[in-house]
Amino acid sequence: MRPILLSGHERALTQVKYNSDGDIIFSVSKDHVVCAWFSHNGERLGTYHGHQGALWTVDVDPTSTLLATGGADNTLRLWEVKSGKLLKTWEFATSIKRAEFSADGRQLLGVTEKRSGHLSTIVVYEINPDPEAEQTDEQSLRIVCDESKATVAGFSYLAHYIIAGHEDGSVSQYDAKSGELLYNNSEAHEPDMQVTDLQWSPDRTYFITASKDKTAKIFAADSLEVLKTYTTDTPLNSAAITPVKDYVILGGGQAAMDVTTTSARQGKFEARFYHKVFQEEIGRVRGHFGPLNYVAVHPQGTGYCSGSEDGYVRVHHFDKPYFDFMYEVEREHAQANL
């Protein structure tokens, strides 16, 4: 496996995302610029300029026409993917920590930071998928998180629920139509250990969260029941579920502020692969020299990329051993089905 190293950013990466066909990777970093890359060879398609502050989040709609970004300049922006043209800017009182489209691309949610008297909120906009059309200024939904601020959020299957992860380690479920809090699983992660990432399974019926409490967990979207737990030895920043093979990829490493005081060896800056079902670690991929801030998986399961505090994106295309690996029981099962 020969990783492709993308060095277009000057500062730490905050999020990387594949589009739905997996041919383009979008990356945002603290250097104010959004980059689009072809995943197969690492060629940079273009950059999106306009943000005035560090960027925290990026998401692309299912048709790869619209791109949403949010950052520390208190704006949520909508771009045309093809041209890099800025289509819409929504202004807020605080920075945007997370943006995500619903599965049909008709809704966009943004998570705002809690700061200077403003509570953390989850806002939802109706999106017109036509890049030429005027986008609305009106929020179709606004959820105020007064208990603990939301750090991550996303739409479940059919945009039924909005699931949010919070700073206090809880995961909550809101009705995506009314914004009503349906259920709050306060035992999701260790108390006061921030939920750092939330990524969906391909069908959005379950999701994986990563937390500073050094675990990643898979929850059912309906019941918020913990289905699987993956325990590691380092605070996690990101977790992703791989299609095709039943693995999960976890990324983390000690906090960025502590990095200079320890050697790269102890920093645990590796992508960790766990078996999704057996919850056992099956391998690691080294390469970064800073904590991994985000890992994203190719929607067809042929590769993954990771963005790190070291300013690089590494794009990996899986080799044969990745696809061949099976547990004994899996192999027996596969043979019985032949």
């Binding site: 020969r2 990783p3 492709i4 273009g46 693995y247 056992e280």
Partner: protein
């Protein structure tokens, strides 16, 4: 025209330019491959003919039409106007990573880590008492008045006196002494002084090859009687012998015999020098 011993550089230049290199030839073979023949001159002046056979294949890949369309998109932003293909300033290929998932990855790697830890511990344990082998300085040794240095097997006595003591109690030297050796050393007849006995039947062997092993010495010296102890001084870093050793016998007469026979014995290209160990000066 070109004599072998010619040294005139001007003429040499002349000849170089006159050397006409044949044109590159490309011939198409029947099986669809191409043979390319090129000529060049190596640095040492020799002419080199390079023949390459190339087979060109077209790899067809079926991609989603949406993906194919996006591949044709114009570049924009900072990349505007740049040629097709990855740019070297933003894209590079990292070194190959071998990634092979294995069941029980954790337990496999943890083992090797533990080994490493042990090694590190050994490295750190620099302080060793010359009297009792404990991890303190020799001058701080609680036995420095009663024990002689190099008493590597002091626990032999300790074992006799307090057999249930699990070999520690600050004595440091906790190497296990098999029961049959305990019997030998504590055997009674030479109980004059704790360490006298040791000295009386101990030989000092010098000029030992640095590749020697304790077992070699034990084999050689046990010909003359029961050897209770062999101590071969080794360098901590390299693990090589330092060139001297102590061999203790259960019986002093055996030691005397060995001393006589082994002094001047050739071992691994070196002549051993064997003498009775001198009583330590404390």
């Amino acid at each position: 025209m070109a004599p072998v011993g010619r040294t005139d550089w001007a003429e040499e230049e002349d000849e170089d330019s006159s050397l006409q290199l044949p044109q590159q030839q490309i011939t198409k073979n029947k099986d669809g491959t191409e043979t390319i023949t090129t000529y060049s001159i190596r640095e040492d002046g020799k002419r080199v003919k390079t023949t390459r056979r190339i087979k060109k294949t077209t790899i067809k890949q079926i991609v989603n039409p949406r993906v194919a369309e996006r591949k044709q998109w114009e570049k924009f932003g900072s990349e505007k106007g740049k040629p097709v293909g990855p740019q070297t300033d933003t894209t590079s290929v990292a070194e190959n990573i071998l990634f092979k998932p294995v069941a029980g990855w954790k337990s496999r790697t943890e083992d090797s880590r533990e080994d490493e830890k042990k090694k590190n511990n050994l490295k750190d344990a620099k302080i060793k008492c010359r009297i009792c082998s404990g991890d303190h300085w020799t001058t701080k040794c609680p036995f420095k008045d009663t024990m002689a240095p190099e008493g590597g097997d002091a626990p032999a006595e300790m074992g006799d006196e307090q057999p249930e003591g699990p070999g520690g109690l600050g004595l440091g030297s906790s190497s296990y002494v098999p029961p049959h050796l305990r019997g030998r050393t504590g055997g009674g007849e030479k109980m004059g002084g704790k360490f006298e006995r040791d000295d009386l039947a101990t030989l000092r062997v010098t000029n030992v090859s640095e590749f020697a092993e304790e077992q070699d010495l034990r084999d050689m010296f046990s010909r003359f009687g029961h050897v209770t102890r062999v101590f071969l001084a080794k360098d901590r870093e390299t693990g090589m012998a330092k060139g001297f050793a102590f061999v203790s016998y259960a019986d002093r007469s055996d030691a005397a015999k060995a001393c006589e026979k082994m002094d001047g014995y050739g071992f691994r290209h070196l002549i051993l020098r064997v003498e009775f160990a001198k009583k330590a000066t404390t």
